[in-house]
């Protein structure tokens, strides 16, 4: 399998009052297409920061990030946004659904950035919602759904554009045990049955069990 994500010599530091705070040091990482990778590590080790850089919502201080053939560390702000719309599906710890939009409308949101017609969008949204098992909740608003259901809507939103990568940052962090189990099973199905490349950040070993491969971050270094 070819590497779909290629990170070389990546460093990231934040600047606070002229003090440099190093967060990631000299990271090298390759993720194969079709992998389901769990990024683990204690809180504050830089997992979110690394994931954000793979997803193109943050930029490295040094080093390269290639996704496919695209050197995303070199893209402009606007070009990155366009790139994200095509290639990345995000799943967040707190779901981040739009509270004023229904499940259907939330999932449709990223499709508004494509050239798909209204009927094509409808088909894609219905398919995505049926994959996550929520076809009967199409017109529900987020507040009418349980946490686990909300997260499944968020997963449908992440997969509806058929992106190159699905990136999930602590997707089970806000869920009870059963819902967490459901969500991880769903992600693992997306990987095994639909061939999605998925990177999950988690510090929950039980959640990480579902992944194919595991990497550990500690104090900014990858083990």
């Amino acid at each position: 399998m070819p590497a779909i994500v290629k990170i070389s010599n990546l460093s990231k530091s934040y600047r606070r009052d002229s003090i440099r705070i190093p967060v990631l040091e000299n990271i090298n990482l390759e993720v194969e297409a079709g992998d389901f990778l769990a990024l683990m590590g204690p809180s504050g080790s830089g997992k979110t920061t690394l994931l954000n850089m793979i997803g193109g919502i943050d930029k490295p201080s040094a080093g390269d990030v290639f996704v496919g053939d695209v050197p995303i560390h070199r893209l402009s702000d606007a070009a990155l946004a366009t790139w994200r719309a095509r290639h990345v599906g995000f799943v967040f710890q707190f779901y981040n659904l739009m509270p004023v939009l229904t499940a259907f409308e939330n999932v449709e949101l990223p499709l508004l950035l494509t050239r798909l017609s209204k009927t094509e969008r409808r088909k894609h949204v219905e398919l995505a919602l049926s994959i996550v098992g929520l076809q009967d909740r199409i017109n529900h608003y987020p507040r009418q759904l349980s946490g686990g259901q909300e997260q499944r809507v968020a997963i449908a939103r992440a997969l509806v554009t058929d992106p190159t990568l699905i990136l999930a940052d602590e997707p089970t962090g806000d869920l009870d045990k059963n819902s967490a189990e459901e969500v991880m099973t769903l992600l693992s199905q997306l990987n095994s049955q639909h061939g999605k490349t998925i990177i999950v950040v988690t510090h929950d070993p039980r959640a990480a069990d579902k992944a194919r491969s595991h990497r550990n971050l500690d104090k900014g270094e990858l083990a």
Binding site: T82, A85, F92, L101, E105, P110
Partner: protein
Amino acid sequence: MAIPLKYSIRSLLARRMTMILTVFGITLVVFVFTAVLMLATGLQKTLVGSGIDENAIVIRESSNTEIQSFITRYQAGVIQTLPDIALNADGQSMVTGEVVALISKNRRDNSRPGNIMVRGIQPMSLSVHKDINLTSGRIFEFGQTEIIVGKRIAERFQGCGLGETVTFGMTDWKVVGIFETGGSSFESEIWGDVEQFLPALGRPVFSSMTFRLKDPAQFSQVRDRVKSDPRMTVDLKREKQYYDDQSRQTATFIRVLGIVISVVFSLGAIIGAMITMYAAVANRTREIATMRALGFQRPSILLGFLTESIVISLVGGALGLLAASSLQLLRVSTINWDTFSDLTFDFALTPNIVVTVIIFSLIMGLLGGFLPAVRASRIKIIEALRAE
């Protein structure tokens, strides 16, 4: 690609109370603004409606109004024999000499005095002037001490109703008819026989002359020819222009005052909208960051929030417009500052005002929403996603 309109609208509706208060602020400002424009326009309409383009009015040079004007006998003679005057069906020249004066009478509602314009007319006046219709009674008889009263005066002044008697110039004048003129300022006048009025008012000569042009397009040639005689120290104006000039100053004054007040008030409404929108942005940084992560561009976010403030301002504007349009049912009386006579007119809502007010509302929305929208478009995605 823009963020969906339903997202913007529903987000507004989600904060109903804030939204209603903000809209209400804009409604108030727009109401005041619209009302003032309607007032100025109504005044202008009433006065301009008195004149027609086919008529020329002659007044003494450099007197702005008929009230300050007099026409010498020589001048009257020249005007009467102009070859450019249209003839009526009976072959008579459509020219008339009139006298105007102000009299003071008490109002019906509060018994306080107000000025009324009285106008002595010739039989030909009734065909030279526009749309004179009797609503009750009959036309006065020439040679008698009889008068007809404009309906606005009949309604508002003591002793001016049909069958009553008005006293001025040491004469009692019997009201034998009430007339209307389609809302023009003539409705705020009293008309009688010029031959009776001249001696009663102690005037030796006409105040003004009005004639119908044979060819309205020839107006400036006629004026220039008349003025080439050094003894013709008169001004000729198209009748419509004459009334337009009269109303312009007052209308402009009302407009300027109204606009200044509205602009000052609108600052409050704009700041209100701005606070509302800043709060909206602060409440929704996580939603904004999520949209950005999904791939929505900065300009789309900016536009989305601008849309919200514009919706607020347009709804407020529409409500203000609606409220102001009910003023059309109201009647206003004021002093015509050019003649010091009482003048009654309506608030007039025109398409022009509607467009102006919508643009005004739009500008308030844009000004109030711009900075918050810029802030929304500039939020840092990772920080906003991290914040809990």
